[in-house]
Symmetry: C2
Subunit: 339 residues, 2 copies
């Protein structure tokens, strides 16, 4: 940088100012500096800048697993939003484990990232305290539970599951299986989506039949959807509808149903959750709940960026934000056409 300064006939600080976008610089000066940068092929040492400024321009993204289309697609949208704001992203897959999630929460302390976008899947409500006063900006993705002292960008889990269940009830289905139940008491989507299911039944005076609950404790993968569906059918209970807690589970459940000769949607109607790309190309195309993923990514990155800027200016953080994206049901072929 000293070389660039010498060549442009200015001080190092002016070069620094130009490269940092400091506005009060005479255009002619800026030009000379940029010309010198070009001629010398200079590239700023980001490490030194980070060290001195105490900021890195890097944020962490902790999600369970990128191989799951929902999280992969979410990560793409978050990375795009971050890029638009000149933020880099370090991704930490937590593998649905408590240790993975705790490790991700510790990471920013070491100052490699300025803040964290965190999609919890293994922490439970009792862990709320772990998320408070971390000393860095944290934005939670996807859930509405935990602490009200933390920024959240979430989806309408309860309403989405309830709308999905209502769609089946409206079609006259009364024996609706749930695919994706978890025994772990995580404060996660499973709990909320099950609540939506329960509420929809209760509103029509229906009770939950335990035999209709399909458990998928090993993860919301397609294979576990097929297995859970099989478990439900093995009980001998009659099934005319399925609400799956995500699209992968739904696609697995459809596979199992079709293998056993059930026609979809005639014999069994199926609704998923997430609107991943695959849902459009299954056979039949899957009816699902779009939880507003794009909006979640955009809003979360913007919010974290805002928090980082405020922290850099030394401001006290404002009140925690709760942003809830709008959901909508996308009707395709796996549910009967409404008349």
């Amino acid at each position: 940088m000293a070389d660039v300064a010498a060549r442009a006939g200015v001080s190092a600080k002016t070069v620094s100012n130009v490269l940092s976008g400091y506005p009060y610089i005479r255009p002619s000066t800026r030009e000379r500096v940029l010309a010198a940068v070009d001629e010398l092929g200079y590239e700023i040492n980001v490490t030194a800048r980070n060290f001195r400024s105490g900021r890195t321009g890097v944020v962490g993204l902790a999600v369970p697993e990128l191989g799951q289309p929902y999280f992969g697609e979410l990560a793409d949208e978050i990375l795009a939003a971050a890029r638009a704001r000149d933020l880099q992203v370090v991704v930490s897959p937590t593998g649905f484990t408590r240790e993975g999630e705790l490790a991700a929460l510790r990471e920013p302390r070491r100052r490699l990232v300025d803040g964290l976008l965190f999609s919890p899947a293994a922490l439970v409500q009792d862990d709320a305290g772990l998320l408070e006063d971390l000393g860095y900006p944290l934005v939670l993705l996807g859930e509405q539970m935990f602490s009200d002292k933390v920024d959240h960008v979430t989806m309408r889990n309860v309403e989405g599951a309830r709308a999905a269940t209502d769609l089946l009830l409206d079609a006259g289905r009364r024996s609706i299986a749930v695919i994706g139940m978890l025994h772990a008491p995580t404060a996660g989507s499973a709990t909320l989506r099950f609540r939506g299911y329960t509420e929809a039944l209760a509103a029509r005076g229906l009770a939950v039949d335990e035999r209709l609950l399909g458990w998928a404790d090993d993860g919301w993968h397609r294979g576990n959807g097929a297995r859970a569906m099989a478990d439900v059918l093995e009980t001998g209970v009659e099934v005319d509808g399925v609400v799956a807690f995500n699209d992968a589970l739904a696609l697995g459940a459809m596979y199992e149903l079709q293998v056993r000769g059930r026609a979809i949607p005639r014999d069994v109607a199926v609704v998923g959750f997430d609107d991943i790309e695959d849902a459009r190309y299954s056979r039949p195309a899957l009816t699902t709940v779009d939880p507003g993923r794009r909006d979640i990514a955009e809003y979360a990155v913007a919010l974290l960026d805002r928090r980082l800027a405020a922290a850099a200016r030394g401001e006290a953080p404002g009140a925690p934000v709760l942003h809830v994206a709008d959901m909508r049901v996308i009707e395709r072929e796996s549910t009967p056409r409404r008349s």
Copy 2:
């Protein structure tokens, strides 16, 4: 760190040595230092360490798109391998664009990452020069083209596609469509897999029928697989087999075939490529080529780590490595059972 040193009754340098794993330290000293670290809740400032040492312990991963299961699953395996070596990973989706890929290649110059794992999809053979002498360690993922001056960790694209095609030919199929052709002259999988297809046909004295080529220039997504399959069928050509250049395309093609009343594998046999998780749960389950993804991820990270360590010791880089993972065909239900 000074506080820790004071508390432990040693110098800062000794604390640094302990925390950096320097071996020649008396156990009693180490213990005292670690105790002081614990008591004070000290966390090393990674930024300062990076700055001073000139290394960051972060590597870049440039892939086209995480929402594609192949890349999402690959990213998960790379992140796991990196974590095992205490490396952080900054992910840059390139969006299948030349600009995205060039931007990813520039990133390490700014010193935020020490090296780069790069899965090219838009660069062409003429760009080979861009990959040489970058001034940082680069490991290419997935292709065998470009420069022989660069480390590659690749898969048997040609052999895989040839084996897939042979499987159909062995089953007596003679009118085999290809799904996933690209017009762009990228040095990518499309070119190599098409070569494998061509070779397999040629070995039996068969020529390529242009009507059987399904183009998917907008990306190897499921939807484009369905569209490309439709395009082929619209030509009126007879089709009794399909080789798709990835599993998503294959699943899309199967959808289109089934919509049009073709039975799989009776009327049309289908083979994919990549062995993504979904391939196991499609209906029928998809026969596919496992390109050795796990091995690729492990080997690539280990190689890059080796290069980084050598660079840190000031050694000249050794000769470029070419590692080719073993592929194998996984036969499922979408191809006729071998008799």
